[in-house]
Subunit: 404 residues, 2 copies
Amino acid sequence: MEGVLIIGAGAAGSVTAQKCAMNRDVFKRVHLASRRLASCEAVAKRCVTPIEISQVDADNVAETVALINKVKPDLVINMALPYQDLAIMDACLETGVHYLDTANYEPRDVAKFEYSWQWKYQDRYKDKGIMAILGCGFDPGQSNIYCAYAQEFLFDTIETIDIIDCNDGSHGKAFATNFNPEINLREVTQRGKYWKDGKWIDIDPLSIATMIDYPEVGPRKSYLIYHEEEESLVENIKGLKQIRFWMTFSDNYIKHLEVLQNVGMTRIDPVMYKGNPVIPMEFLKELLPPPSSLGEGYTGRTSIGCIFTGKKDGKDKRAIIYNVCEHTQAYKETGAQAVSYTTGVPPVVGAMMVFKGAWKGAGVYNVEQLPSKPFMDEIGQHGLPWHTRELEDGEQSELFAVKT
Amino acid sequence: MEGVLIIGAGAAGSVTAQKCAMNRDVFKRVHLASRRLASCEAVAKRCVTPIEISQVDADNVAETVALINKVKPDLVINMALPYQDLAIMDACLETGVHYLDTANYEPRDVAKFEYSWQWKYQDRYKDKGIMAILGCGFDPGQSNIYCAYAQEFLFDTIETIDIIDCNDGSHGKAFATNFNPEINLREVTQRGKYWKDGKWIDIDPLSIATMIDYPEVGPRKSYLIYHEEEESLVENIKGLKQIRFWMTFSDNYIKHLEVLQNVGMTRIDPVMYKGNPVIPMEFLKELLPPPSSLGEGYTGRTSIGCIFTGKKDGKDKRAIIYNVCEHTQAYKETGAQAVSYTTGVPPVVGAMMVFKGAWKGAGVYNVEQLPSKPFMDEIGQHGLPWHTRELEDGEQSELFAVKT
């Protein structure tokens, strides 16, 4: 294997391309394609080794197939929009090329986060003898791999998982989202849910919150939201009794979100304006600062990890695995802030796993179904070192006290 | 005189048409025209006597001229958008018909509230022997007439005027504006200013606030904003030392406004969306509840008036003139809430003044330049009774204590 094709040149895709270009021992050929060639050109300029670029409309399967036939990659890293997952999976299937992405497919017209559409490709990918690796960003992605690693090496049985996601950074804007505003707001405005004792429990959006003590950050108010990796982890972590996902939002962010919802700006159905349909959420995206513009002057850090409870050698055990990423350091290296950086690096290491033969098979995989150790051994050298330790008595007491 | 043509069938225009239809002794012929014929039809159904209706694009002078030539009114009441004032004034000039409006002309592309454009019609209206009566809604309009009345009957010299505008109503929506959202938000988001000792003092938007004790409402937080009637009152109230305009906004309204500004939704420059220009403020208008939908279930009242200080018979005097209007009562009578009602009634009484010969002349007039007494004698019978009294010692102490 020698060639990788990255589709998508947004802030995270830029990080992915730059990291591939830093690892030419693995990726002999690196090709970046996106809807806007100018975006690819800007990324190519930042790369430490030369990469090739192309324009592509990833909604158009035939176009992507033609690009794959021209570029002849061994694997496609999909860093485009979640709406485009299926079209790119179709193109990979048609051309017999491995597929890897960082976020599950969503239909444009309904905010529905589930793997069902992509899991349906199982038999076709198996028959074709190629892999589709789903959700290999940070969360989902690194978070799933933390779980797989904890299951194999830290616990005999994992009983509960709390994925905790804190961006304690400051971008200095009145309001901005750290990744694609449309995807971010769709995620946050949906109803929440978590999984307990074999069933999903549905909650009002942002209706459960608590303080979580984030490593190297400190206690921050965090909201229970639904996040896509929970769906596959429930299937793949045996004996699990509960899984929840928590994310920090500042009061200012919540205020903006509330108002935008109140006035209808987060709607994803078209509203007529001078004879043309305008989707409010899409239009809002045009108004907000692009996430790629937030890198400069962004201070603070992200602190993301998984807190586990379970049994080891017959005794109760509580442990955490986490990564902390500095915005300024991510920006210095790649011109992107830490949220884009933490999303853009894991797919590179995931691709490496395939290229090095550590991840192999045929069919559709969520990353926790693949060997965690080779990934965990590699990721630290590429900018996302991880740490693990057992929790002390009373640590994360507020999190564990939440009645859910 | 026998015929009136009303252009504009929004919430306030609907009130104007209905009130004209209630006064057929004065208005023998009533014609309502608007961009959407369906709006006129809905208003006509509410009228207690039959009115005629037409479709017209008031931006198009030739179309309006043709309509005036068909309808042959003696006076046009302009209840359309402020952007359309000049086009309608042009049409009146061409056809030799009196003109009356409720809000000053604004260019679409810049939020600039001033009479300069309309005052330039002075010579042409004079030469044509017709009247253009500017700003005959509530404020401007009734507020200016309160000032003219106070100048003539209550004071020897007015030294300060505070126009106070409170909507203490509740429409039950998370966020809505009481009149055209676009016009409302343009007005509120502009820089503030007030006039003192011969000059205008510019302030940051909503940066000065105080508590004002509104008649029949009580103390409410009020913000100093610029309002167009100040420009003409400074010219026409002799000896004036200071004029300020205050409006209540709830914390919730301010919060929504702040967020909408932060994200760029109050911008009036075009933003490209899928190849088409979209003006955020105009698009926002499409999302918010139309003011005409706010009537049902609207509770509470408006309390709007003028507080004067000055001299009478060599002694200091402080007095207030005000109106209080109940939302439910306005809705019961006209299907519109009190903000639309208080705007829609004064132009009817203004038109009556012209029809009855109490207001006559040739040229462009702000309403305080016309006799106040016949208007004040009439307006109470049409739904907007007014009250006046001297202020007691210490009354409105917070308002008077504001250092501006």
